[in-house]
Amino acid sequence: MSLETVDKRQKAKKPVPTASVWTRRLLISVVVLYVGVLILAPIGSIIAGAFKDGAGAVLAALSQPDVIAAFKRTILIAVVVVFVHLVFGTIVAWTLVRDRFPGRDLINGLIDMPFAVSPVVVGYMLLLLFGRNGLLAPVLERLDIRVAFAMPGMILATLFVTLPFMIRELIPMLEAFGIQQEQAAATMGANSWQIFWRITLPALRWGFIYGVTLTFARALGEFGAVLVIGGGIQGRTETATLYIYRALDERQYMGAYSAAIVLGLISLALVIGTDILRRREKAKS
């Protein structure tokens, strides 16, 4: 390679404008304007709308008992969902990476389905199973369990919509980790319990951290599915999103905006925090 081409390669690494300066400026402005109008302006306007009467009004709106109860229900659902996916998501990810069986590709594709199925349809499916005239209604009646219009149904709905997150975080990590270290530990006499806790689990820790935060954030914001299966009964099955929906309907804008901001901020902090951690981890390796 001649010196000249080396020189050119090095230059090419830096963002050299291929287009003229004006095209570049135009393209940058178009993108910044688009993001500004589409994403930043709505965020700014809801914050301005909520704080129009000062921070005191926001706090007063948030400290109403039904708002606090709704947030508590949302967090309870999210915590249960995270734990269930932590256990079963790990098993599914492990099976998909380490096991071979017919239909594996189909299952792999199905994992992403909750991403595209409408939340309303998710809630409705559960209603067909667990509702008053549902397929499992006789069984549930005999056992005296309420699923529809109660917390178990809302947890199931949230489990469905958050299914891909943990699994999709763990699969690439398991693939990249391989089995050599586990095998090495086995030849040195470690038992399988030790191998799992000391080798496999620590190697997947970032996968678990990302999976938990993304699942949690998504669970907090679920609306359509819990609306259909839970019914949004005030004081019983009203989660944070369902409260916002009702408050808008009743024209209690302060309550709706304030709760929306809190909900948005929590999920934003979780997702952005994960993103920063991920980038830092990447930079280290």
Binding site: A12, P15, S20, T23, L27, V30, V31, Y34, L38, I39, L40, P42, S45, I46, G49, V87, F88, I91, V92, T95, R98, F101, I107, L110, D112, F115, V117, S118, V120, V121, V122, Y124, M125, L128, L159, F160, L163, I179, E182, Q183, T187, N191, S192, W193, I195, W197, G221, E222, F223, G224, V228, I244, Y257, L263, G264, S267, L268, L270, V271, D275
Partner: protein, 290 residues
């Protein structure tokens, strides 16, 4: 038996130093648990909806789908999603290009803002858009009075909400491929005197087509089912701004099970085929990378 124990058993069998062929009980149990979990959570509910919607035969199913209100809700969903996908593909590719190729103040902030829609609950997105563009708000009123454009409680609001929600998909699909792209060909084309647009179209764009398509399809698939943001911004007027998801909710509430199930089946079928197609595209682009 909990997960670690199961994994441990499987590991033992795999690393067992004996030459004897053992029956991999642990592996089978684990596979069984995984499949049972997915069946209970995913496959059985999806199957139930097909069973319910088709229980009175294909003719009745089809009659429910072409019911004028249902049909207009489905077509509205499809065309607004399609318009969003076109805009999102162009703007997403442009945003990825600007982020990868140019340096400018505030670039890392812009890069971070791209992911914000992924984090915000879609119901909250809807509320935000109503606050900004609603007919009683300053900007919304101005657009309506001066330009005669209604955004909220009209189809443009649906498109706007979908654009917000799906913005990251195309950008994040194109960006990594663009970063890895070898730039010698572009440099060569520049030396040979090609214009910027020609270079982009002939050299930069072709390798981006695969990730771009999968990002676009992902936005479309996601948009078909969107509910939280749309129910707030659309106004949900039948024949005008009622989407398929909102229609299903209405039919569930008025206990028209057959209608709700029929439209649900159409929506699930569309998302299923799209997800399978995306999965196949992503596997192909991974193979191309290797």
């Amino acid at each position: 038996m909990d997960a670690p124990e199961l994994i441990q058993r499987v590991d033992r069998e795999k690393t067992a130093p004996t030459g004897l062929k053992q029956v991999p009980w642990g592996r089978w149990v684990l596979r069984g648990v995984a499949l049972a979990y997915l069946s209970a959570l995913l496959i059985i509910p999806l199957a139930v909806i097909f069973q319910d919607g088709l229980r009175q035969g294909l003719n009745e199913f089809w009659r429910q789908v072409i019911n004028p209100v249902a049909w207009s809700a489905l077509t509205l969903t499809l065309w607004t999603s399609a318009v969003m996908t076109v805009i999102n593909t162009v703007m997403g590719t442009l945003a990825a290009y600007v982020l990868v190729r140019y340096e400018f103040p505030g670039k890392s902030l812009l890069n971070a803002v791209i992911d914000v829609p992924l984090a915000i609950p879609t119901l909250v997105t809807g509320v935000m858009l109503v606050v900004l563009f609603g007919p009683q708000q300053a900007l919304g009123a101005w657009l309506k009075n001066e330009l005669g454009i209604s955004i909220i409680f009209a189809p443009p609001g649906i498109i706007l909400a979908l654009l917000f929600i799906t913005f990251p998909f195309v950008v994040r699909a194109v960006q990594p491929v663009l970063i890895d792209l070898d730039r010698t060909q572009e440099d060569a084309a520049t030396t040979l005197g090609a214009a910027g647009w020609t270079i982009f179209r002939r050299i930069t764009l072709p390798p981006l087509l695969l990730p771009l398509t999968s990002g676009a399809l992902l936005s479309f698939a996601r948009a078909i089912g969107e509910f939280g943001a749309i129910v707030i911004v659309a106004g949900n007027i039948p024949f005008y701004s009622q989407t398929a998801a909102v229609y299903v909710l209405g039919e569930v509430e008025s206990e028209n099970r057959l209608g709700a199930s029929a439209v649900s089946i159409v929506m699930v079928a569309i998302s299923f085929s799209l997800m399978m197609l995306i999965n196949w595209l992503q596997r192909r682009s991974q193979k191309e990378k290797q």
